[in-house]
């Protein structure tokens, strides 16, 4: 995270500076991790790429969180018919493998950052929705919620003051998982050529570039992948810690 924010200042070179004579050079010297096919410094591109890869993943997962929470609460609070309808719509979205649907949507909308954000947000809200609805339904029979409703609190205020705070811990756990998935999804779309477009440095797009030079400079391919793995691993570990903390709290 820190690297994503400060990375651009740490980068030793301009990420899009083209330096053909120095193309595909090995790690070491002025280029710490070597250069790519256009002689661009890989370390600088990685650091700048963190902004694209992590920033977009953050954005996508937060959009999904908002949509999912609202829809889930709507199902939980809106009565039986609405609940049935909303859950069947959710099931319909869940009927498609997420990444596959994202590939199709992004591909048809035309490659680019906007379609990437749209594709991953549209396919990434259902888990939040399920969790929000599930917890929302159990809250309905709690004493304080019933009292608040009898006291004349509007459904909106009920959702804001009584449902949201109760939902937050569980949603946070789901969010860490979805954040990690979004990083993987963005780099996968980039790798297929449907995501962030060159010359912008995004890790998946960098992998796509590096794949062509697999035989001559295999190391070029290693770095962006390592960056993805490190971020996803870190987020997953935080998610596991959150989940354990939550489980412990529920037990006590």
């Amino acid at each position: 995270m820190v690297l994503a924010v400060f990375g651009p200042w740490l980068a030793p070179h301009d990420p899009s500076a083209i330096n053909i004579p120095q193309r595909l050079s090995a790690p070491g010297g002025a280029w710490l991790l070597g250069t790519d096919a256009l002689g661009r410094d890989i370390l600088s591109r990685l650091l700048h790429g963190a902004r694209w890869s992590l920033g977009l993943a953050f954005l996508v997962s937060v959009i999904g969180l908002c949509i999912g929470t609202v829809v889930g609460l709507l199902a939980a609070l809106g009565g039986k018919t609405l609940d049935w309808l909303v859950m069947r719509i959710t099931d319909t979205f869940l009927a498609f493998p997420e990444l596959l649907a994202a590939v199709v949507i992004a591909g048809l909308m035309g490659a680019g950052t906007t379609s990437l954000i749209f594709a991953l947000s549209v396919t990434g809200w259902m888990r939040y929705c399920r969790v929000a609805r599930g917890i929302g339904l159990t809250l309905q029979s709690r004493g304080y919620v019933i009292q608040a409703r009898l006291a004349g609190l509007s459904p909106l205020a009920l959702a804001r003051w009584h449902y949201l705070p109760a939902l937050l811990p569980s949603l946070a756990v789901v969010w860490t998982g979805m954040f990690a998935r979004a990083i993987l999804g963005i780099s996968a779309l980039g790798f297929l050529g449907f995501g962030v477009q060159p010359p912008l440095p995004e890790w998946g797009t960098m992998l796509l570039d590096a794949r062509i030079h697999l035989r001559s400079t295999p190391l070029q391919m290693v770095w962006p992948g390592l960056a993805v793995v490190a971020c996803v691993l870190a987020i997953n570990l935080v998610g596991d810690m959150l989940r354990d903390a939550l489980a412990q709290e529920e037990r006590s």
Partner: protein
Amino acid sequence: MMAILSLMLRAVVVLCGAAIATFSLLWHAPGDPALAIAMARHGTIVSETVVSVVREQAGLNVGFWSALQDWAGPLLVGDFGHSSVTGRPVLPDLLNAMGHTIPLALLGLAIGLAIAISLAMLATRRPGGGVDRCAVAVASLGAAIPVYWLGLLLILVFAVQLSWLPAMGARTPLHLLLPALTLGLGVAAALMRIIRSGILEARAQAFLPALARRGVTARAIASDHIALHAAIPVVTVLGLELAFLLEGAVMVEVIFARPGLGSFLVDAIAARDFPKVQAVVLLAALLFVTINLLIDLIYRLIDPRIGARSA
């Protein structure tokens, strides 16, 4: 019985929704599909009359609902229509692509299950011990590795550096090995931790000491009781794993240049060949919903409490 029927009814509703969603997604996709088809058939420069002829032929000049009917009617009898680029029927090509993808997915699943189960059994010999911690760490690391990067690394090691296995194409059965291994490692990483905690949880069940006292051998307890209990969470996530397998197969096929569903889909998107894209997306949904329905049913077989609870 009622519960099973209602599950099936729900699956049908979801599939109908999925079909409509697929169709409207492609119908509302930006760009003129008729122009795309005309360009694919007649080169990049096409006249307006050619485009309008194509629009007529492809049935693109009607409204949304009648186009939906035109598409969905034949679909019910298994007719996916014709490719808008080549004009050939979609179904044979689709089946051909599936013939490459299904062995890959099954072999990947088998490799993944084999690795995950043996690793989990090793790890739970001494829970909390060195082997256990290493196995969990490796699984966590594995779950963070993008499947396409893993594929590239495997190509690098086994095909480029060692030259043991072929990497590109699908000419011999040997070509299946690296892609399936890539998928299998991904599946194993996801399943290992679930199987491990399943075994640990099953071991803590109160009825196990009672069984042992009744004279049931340790081997019988392990195979008849612990294994069955540990299978419940695994069956639950198998549905999610299927999504992973499909997505993974798409990526892996692109990396290894295999002519399966993945390449079929990516090529169809690039050519804006809508009938083909619709067919793949719908097929994925059909597979996904059917298998999740089956899993729900198997689930009730393994754990009768679930059926009893919801009935």
